[in-house]
Subunit: 455 residues, 2 copies
Amino acid sequence: MLTTDFLAQLQSLLPPERLYSDIVDCYAYAYDNSQKIYPPDVVVFPLTPEEIQAIVVLCNSHKVPLTPRGRGTGTVGGSLPEQGGVALSLERMLRIVLVDPANRVIVAEPGVLNQAVQDAAKPHGFFWPPDPSSAAYSSIGGNLATSAGGPHAVKYGTTRDHVLGVKAVTGKGDALKTGCYTTKGVVGYDLTRLLIGSEGTLAIITEATLKLTPLPQAYGGLIAHFKDVVSCAKAIVSIMSLSQVPSALEFLDAGSLDLIRGRSPDMLPADTDAILMIETDGSPREITDSSAAILSVCRNEGLLQAEQVSNADNLWKMRKALSPLLRDIAPKKINEDVVVPVATLPEFLYELTQLSSKYNIANVNFGHAGNGNIHVNLLVNPENFDEMTRAEKCLNEVFDLVIRLNGTLSGEHGIGREKRAYIEKEIDATTLMLMKDIKQVFDPNNILNPGKIFL
Amino acid sequence: MLTTDFLAQLQSLLPPERLYSDIVDCYAYAYDNSQKIYPPDVVVFPLTPEEIQAIVVLCNSHKVPLTPRGRGTGTVGGSLPEQGGVALSLERMLRIVLVDPANRVIVAEPGVLNQAVQDAAKPHGFFWPPDPSSAAYSSIGGNLATSAGGPHAVKYGTTRDHVLGVKAVTGKGDALKTGCYTTKGVVGYDLTRLLIGSEGTLAIITEATLKLTPLPQAYGGLIAHFKDVVSCAKAIVSIMSLSQVPSALEFLDAGSLDLIRGRSPDMLPADTDAILMIETDGSPREITDSSAAILSVCRNEGLLQAEQVSNADNLWKMRKALSPLLRDIAPKKINEDVVVPVATLPEFLYELTQLSSKYNIANVNFGHAGNGNIHVNLLVNPENFDEMTRAEKCLNEVFDLVIRLNGTLSGEHGIGREKRAYIEKEIDATTLMLMKDIKQVFDPNNILNPGKIFL
């Protein structure tokens, strides 16, 4: 519980319309897409780095937990005020500070939506490559906090590849300026990328300098149907050994396709057991060339059919239908986003089906196959204790499999609170201790998003 | 001076042929391309991470300075054992641990030459994009320590964009494993990029997992001659606002061209005052398309002529002739590698000529114009006290100009010892203090490359 003294001081920093302390108001800032609920005691809406600094200094001196928050679209509980205290919402810091097409840069406040950045860049012939499926309503502050990816990461990389520098406030209330305004720069330590993906545990990002990329001239689409998951996985490996890199390479397994069939029976042939949705970009001629190269290596013993898709929106129709369907069927599904080396995908996807059978857990897998980044969904009912026990064992074995194949537990969602119990599977004790020591430097009183990533 | 006790313990860790203590032997490890000389007391040549760990633990317990060293090609004194002690040469750790084309990965020890990585990748259709001009004889350990760039950074980025993870030993002797083996991964803090560019002050990299890129099908070349530097700079800005990104965009100013004329009088027309060397890569058709687009925006009022160069080697002939010529004419030149936002290049290059006149310092500028990364060379004679005094004032104003234009003091060379006096021009006191605190976490006794980047 917050002291009245602390509350009074906090109230002195902001006008009343930018501080919520009513329990009902606060409840709206208690959730994220992990579907857990942890209400904060107070929600604040700063508008400037100076206000953020004042709030942090106050929280630090009172050792009050402070959880920064974008738009709450994260899936691992990274923005949940798990220990109560102050939720610091950045949703009102909505200013695009600068659009500088000559230098291929946009400078933006953290509350700016990913889509707003795209809208500002497009008239100048540019885009900002990170494209999480939440792009329309997630903020760039959150994108940076998680180093968000998305389907185009296979060609363009993730958030950490597209940020030149940030301004940020540490847990001590110190204002930092990291990185630079140019595409090269090696002065001092790379604090920019240390903050990107740190899930709000080191500092609150108050401004970001985003590096823009020229929009491709055109897009091409291909859909390839396979009779089984292993031949589909082999095609992924073959595509990723081509010199032509697709701009997206998305995979849907049998479970995913069955869900789609349940909703739209005529959308898919009965014998299709796995699908690849492949996007290429570039000049029309490049698209023709790379589509031909990709198509030719898809032609293995398991290919049923492959069709060109003229409209890129049609390409994504099935993929976009999937998440709501999964929510319908299993509102409390366990949703992972593990990554394995691409060449191990045939083994990984085969072993997944084995684990699903062994533990009798319905399992739907899809995702960014070009990066080896698979969204493994365990369709469980949290009220079924027996099923949850089996699911937990299954998940544990999935993670062990991922580590054995030299993969990583998360490609884009992060650790947050949902996966911190597993982090020691991937990061050894010495390296983890060093990360905790770095946390201590930025946030000696452990007020910034305490308990996230590691306890 | 090292104690006999320390020396005896060090000798117990390595066979005699891998420890030099003779003053003449040590002298060969006293230099780098900054041309300063700081002999170590001892040079050690470990072969394994375990040996490195034992050496660090020993140095740490005796508080003996330990300077890791690649091949000594750095230009800012980053590998000089300025405070004596132990030079730890990684030149015998030459093993390519793994070539894994299916996952587009090479794992290598730090002593492996950049060129050896290229040679291992090429048969599989890949390359590793960082290409400092020292690529033939610099090691990947050194490339990582400085986040090396090179001419292809304009399209492909620098070292930090092409490393998936490292193994490293901190100044406490702790063995770290950072990053992952996949192209996506967001588990824990990004220690990989914190170590890349840290110039051996945080940890000694003992192994690196390098991300490979498909070799382009072909290369195209263009040389554009301009009658003055400002129209040349305008062409750079126009080229960099195209959606077609050149694979290299190198600039030579009048001073550079005069040097070349001095050696090869017939190589260049008399009225050419600035040159752009432009490389494009991709399919033959892409090259045709992008060459046409680039050529069309080069056609401003200052363009004298533009010629296609069929053989890419010819394109680089002039550029490669330049560094030895500079050494001939001014063996102790001051060599900077500042970066300014591309759109400010016209102003920057004009102001440089003004500063050169103001201080009467001969000045030759060339470099990676597509990144705004210009090698500013002040041709001075260190024995001329008056000239050196003027050069120092001139350099100070150059740096102030760079910062005023929102640039950075170094694009690829780093800070080392040569530029540490200037770092506070770019990094504010708070951010610098945080970097020092991070240094303290990795290296509490300040034994790893002490005094580099900051004192």
